[in-house]
Assembly symmetry: C2
Homo-oligomer: 710 residues x 2
């Protein structure tokens, strides 16, 4: 998808965002043409740089001359926008290059999205751009705009968006058009909007830094259908998200193709888990719906950061208060326990029948002054981290008057205040006051509650980010590399790429991940000798490149207590395998000292095509795919991510004990996660590696079964 050969250079993108002069190639008199729309928008948006129109027909348009050729365009001109049929684009681009223009937006469609011929044309454009050191946005996009510069370089029908503080970066042009219109309806403004089209050159990652550098932008919102270079996206987004929140709506959740996998980790990883792990690392907030994205954007743009998850609800009626309380709890928030002083102060303001505990129900008689006084009291309570004010269509006072009374308090507050204005027409005046004052308001208390939870999530991310570190373990990477490079692996490499057990063991040893004592026996007598060295009980397992689920076919025997049974067991396994898989190549039988009972977990890692190494942790055993009690993180992992892996799975939580399940050594488990993640990051040639189970004892762990594929 991404043909880029050069790494992005933010400076080279400057002409897109602050051009000195713009040439519209294909500017048209015809109202139905995109070239007319763009010319009109550029002029009407009050762009202060030079505006030049180019069309072989010449003449004049919107009181400006139309040049017949781009070479005739006078200085300054550093951005070209092409709205001409696809077939003419390469020629025009060449002329732009010759004219010294270093940035071009190709709005026209008719390229890769139409088939192989279009793709060829697109490739040609990219080559021309490379030749002239020119950057390209598009083709097949609606352009970009900046409401503060100002500049509207899109061809969408007016009106453009109101100026504001939310930036929008999109893989879909049609969604851009909708967002501009939604913004108007939902009462927020846009700062910048970039439609990326086919991304033949500039992609979503490239524009993150320049868009976030805009001082008017307070929140970045992204509509993504995929990501071109996962690791670079994470890197860039992580930097940006430390300064400004990023919200992403990632679609195409169900479109991902199935890859061939040989491990539980691979089967469970999927596209979406990789995206979630990546967004988690980068601090990108993932929205599930378009509505959610813009609900959250307003709150993030306009509210201070809360210091915690305790919310006070201020209402004039019981039902909406209960609804809001429910929604807050659903979103992982808590109802603040009000201080005695707070309750006393509320009692001094409210009638006796009012409810002074959270939710604070002032009753239907609540006046604008009561709203204001109570809000001030609640915000002064140190146990209140944020406040949700509820305004149903009030039976006694106009909602607008309440809005006017509380807006100054909200502006002075250092805590977020969000408003649920329940209704439509009767609360319209209040809506307008709040929007003008940049106070986030929502028609439904549930949406307000969701926005509050995102503010808390954002605060927590910033707190974590200040102290997150990738854990580097004391490992012998060089040794591991040597192991993988050795001739013996290449020769024993099976057709599925599984590494022989001895190699796997050496790798784990290099990363200091404990395994039970074991050895490979090629005869029953050899098995007995090994068993005697290790001590009993002993487990025997068939080793064959052709057999992945060993226990299915009787390839495993456990709990063998003496030499005699080791001998018999070896013969039995070989017989079982012969019966089930007569053609299987037999490497031998693994002889292993059995480890005492304990808890069992799975730790695995895979190489994701988009984001590189991922590590998985969860409940192990043969039911892992059915139970789906697993979580993913990018490898190598941060301390905080390892905590997340353990806390978000039952397999992790129960390491601390539960009822009659004894607690076990969770620190040793964390160490294995760090080390396996490090291994996956160090050795990208290992496609999948999985410890299942990792036996966890009161002290220490042991990797009972490990498989790795290159």
């Amino acid at each position: 998808m991404n043909h880029k050969i050069q790494q992005p250079d933010s400076n080279s993108l400057a002409p897109f965002f602050s051009p000195q002069g713009v040439a519209v190639i294909g500017a048209s008199h015809d109202y139905s043409k995109l070239g007319y729309g763009l010319a009109r928008n550029l002029v009407q948006s009050n762009y202060q740089g030079a505006v030049h129109f180019v069309n072989p027909k010449g003449g004049s348009l919107l009181n400006r001359p139309v040049y017949r050729h781009v070479k005739l365009v006078p200085d300054p001109v550093d951005l070209a926008i092409l709205l001409i049929p696809a077939a003419y684009v390469p020629q025009a681009l060449t002329e732009c290059g010759q004219r010294g223009i270093k940035a071009a937006i190709i709005g026209s469609g008719g390229f890769r999205e139409t088939g192989p011929e279009g793709a060829e044309l697109e490739e040609k454009c990219l080559q021309i751009a490379h030749h002239y050191g020119m950057r390209l946005i598009g083709p097949n996009c609606i352009g970009l705009l900046d409401t503060h510069l100002p500049m509207d370089a899109t061809f969408l029908p007016p009106p453009g968006p109101p100026p504001g503080d939310v930036a929008f970066i999109s893989h879909s042009g049609a969604i851009c058009a909708a967002v501009i219109d939604w913004a108007r309806g939902q009462g927020f403004g846009l700062s910048r909007l970039v439609s990326l089209g086919n991304q033949t050159d500039v992609n979503e990652t490239d524009v993150l830094a320049p868009v976030s550098a805009d001082p008017f932008t307070r929140v970045l919102t992204l509509y993504l259908e995929g990501i071109s270079d996962g690791r670079r996206f994470i890197q860039e987004a992580e930097k940006v998200a430390l300064r400004k929140p990023i919200i992403a709506l990632k679609v195409g959740r169900f479109a991902s193709g199935q890859r061939a996998v040989a491990s539980h980790t691979g089967a469970l990883a999927g596209h979406e888990n990789a995206f979630n792990a990546a967004f988690r690392r980068a601090g990108v907030i993932r929205a599930d719906t378009s509505e959610e994205m813009f609900d959250w954007a307003r709150a993030l743009a306009w509210c201070p950061a809360p210091n915690g998850r305790s919310v006070a609800i201020l209402t004039n009626a019981g039902g909406p208060g209960v609804t809001a309380a429910d929604a807050l709890e659903t979103n992982g928030m808590a109802l603040a326990v009000l201080a005695e002083d707070t309750i006393r102060a509320l009692a001094g303001v409210l009638p006796p029948a009012a409810s002074l505990h959270n939710p604070v129900d002032m009753l239907a008689s609540a006046s604008p002054e009561e709203y204001a006084q109570c809000l001030r009291i609640l915000l002064a309570d140190p146990g209140v981290h944020s406040t949700l004010v509820i305004l149903p269509p009030p039976p006694m006072y106009a909602a607008g008057a309440v809005a006017k009374a509380i807006i100054p308090i909200i502006h002075h507050a250092e805590k977020p205040v969000i408003v649920a204005l329940m209704g439509e027409r009767l609360i319209q005046e209040a809506v307008e006051h709040f929007r003008a004052a940049h106070v986030p308001e929502y028609r439904f208390p549930e949406r307000a509650a969701s926005a509050l939870s995102i503010l808390a999530q954002r605060s927590e991310h910033l707190q974590r980010a200040s102290k997150r570190t990738i854990v580097n373990t004391d490992i012998e990477k060089e040794k591991a590399l040597k192991i993988l490079a050795s001739e013996s692996i290449k020769s024993s490499d099976d057709e599925h790429g599984f590494l022989p057990p001895g190699v796997v063991r050496s790798l784990l040893e290099a990363y200091d991940i404990p395994m039970p004592p074991e050895g490979l026996a090629q005869s029953a007598q050899q098995a007995v000798t090994l068993a005697k060295q290790m001590g009993f009980p002993i487990a025997l397992k068939i080793i064959s490149p052709d057999i992945s689920h060993k226990s299915d076919i009787g390839g495993v025997l456990l709990g063998i207590q003496d030499e005699e049974n080791v001998y018999a067991g070896f013969e039995q396994i070989l017989a079982n395998v012969k019966r089930a898989k007569p053609d299987a190549t037999i490497v031998g039988v693994n002889v292993q000292r059995m480890i005492p009972q304990g808890q069992e977990v799975i730790v695995g890692a895979i190489q994701d095509a988009q984001f590189g190494p991922l590590v998985m942790f969860g409940s192990g055993g043969i039911e892992v795919e059915g139970m789906k009690d697993v979580a993913f993180a990018l490898a190598p992992v941060t301390e905080e991510e390892v905590e997340y892996l353990l806390e978000s799975t039952w397999g992790g939580r129960k390491l601390n004990g539960y009822r009659n399940i004894a607690p076990v050594d969770s620190i040793a488990v964390k160490n294995v996660i760090y080390r396996l993640a490090q291994l996956a990051a160090d050795l990208p040639q290992i496609q999948e590696i999985e410890i299942n189970p990792l036996r966890v004892l009161a002290h220490g762990v042991s990797a009972l079964d490990v498989r790795a594929r290159i």
Copy 2:
């Protein structure tokens, strides 16, 4: 909460919904009084019955006389609405009773919601009502309205709701006010609205039948803070839901108190699982948010029932199509695979670059005629069960023109068509056309997808309902009752109410639930004798009313292979118990034949305070509370509910086998669920009963451990 002593009689509620004459007691000249608001609304709503005003001050109001006393009010009058201070309500109610009025709405507050004094006043009102055979709505409510009768008997500020087909029944008055305003904003109308207030007499269940009997009502929506009588609600709602869809927003999800429980079933049951099981049985659709409830209501009111879950998406842009496809899959819908004929027909209409496979992307150039033609083609495809039409702010044609072109097709379709109008201002004209035509439209494709899934859910409910039957098992209820009534139980009844194992065994025998052979030993020698009768291997378990988690304290020994170890095991268990719980009363040691390995599940039942007997099924073992892989249904269960219990849990799904987990006897499991549910329904004195584990073999099952509490 519910003081009702009589069963509801729908006829007695008739005066609320079709009164011949209404007396407003407390009608007032003072604009700020609720008594003015109600008088005004009643007159302005164009109510055709007699309207009488009562106020001791007399005079006239809104061109009508004001009577000084209700006894002076002329015929006809069958409904009184009281808006006077709480203290005066009992006297006024008495006078209404004397005047022969059989129905009253008490709008005033100041009753139970304010404390014990108010509760006493409310109780007094109820007694007066009973004395005169009068029905009461309220107190502390905003009244009711019917837009078709018409009659607005609320005191809310105008405008009232537009007439429509959605009825709303509410435990909160403030939510009523918000709903009226939301309806106007979201473009649907209300048929009836009932605010129930404190529900001293009439509650949510009572009004279901009369509201649904209204021919103008097509959907019932409920805002519930609880349910007064769970089983009666289910009964009534189930009947209503066969004719008209019911959607409920049930709040107070996190407010439920914790009850004392002794079983996993009890710990997991909780308030919400009981509500979900009840709504499932009744066919009530549960909404999570207010917005969802009304999004769904419009679709259910206006669309025909789909025959399945396959959806065609018709769009003029890629991004919105992908977003909609994602949202459909998230909501459990499928993208229809279009027939070859359909694709050929689309190709005849659309330009070559259009995408003819679902989502059908007509490209930005799509005209109103193309929208219409393609929609007709898609609806004709037998594999398409419903259609989602997407209209972003169109770059080339006005959305209004598209609306006009497709509305006639939607009206003729026998399949649902739902529209995602993405935007706000630019699509306003189209919004108005669709609303006038009763075509559900949504600003965001995700909300449209959710509405389509609810239509499918509703269809499926009706299909299932036509063939659902409670499964009656061949059981010996009389024998079970005799067992529970026997003296021996009462005498051995422990302080926690646990039944002795022998009694539990007899109960399960009466309901034909298989258990392993077992007996109670009070000496090691007795244990050996029993073991010899049963055959080996043997399990030993301590029996004590003071010990619920036997294995925690070494009270269980498994896999004993011979007489000698039975003898030693008996002594060891007693020693373990003495050490861990020296004061525990020891009934003896249970000697049980061990059952072969197999799968293990949990089947439990409890008596829910609100909804009566509930049955639980899921993954068993000691981790059941941690894994939470369980599901609930009302007892006794329907066949369809048992299928649901198995399908919605991993413990149920894996009965059919998974990878190297062999399939087992799921029919035997279903039988146990039927029988245990029947037992819980027959014997409400059994508070909790739990089989954990139920061992499931290739043929047959065995209840390995059962505990029951009365």
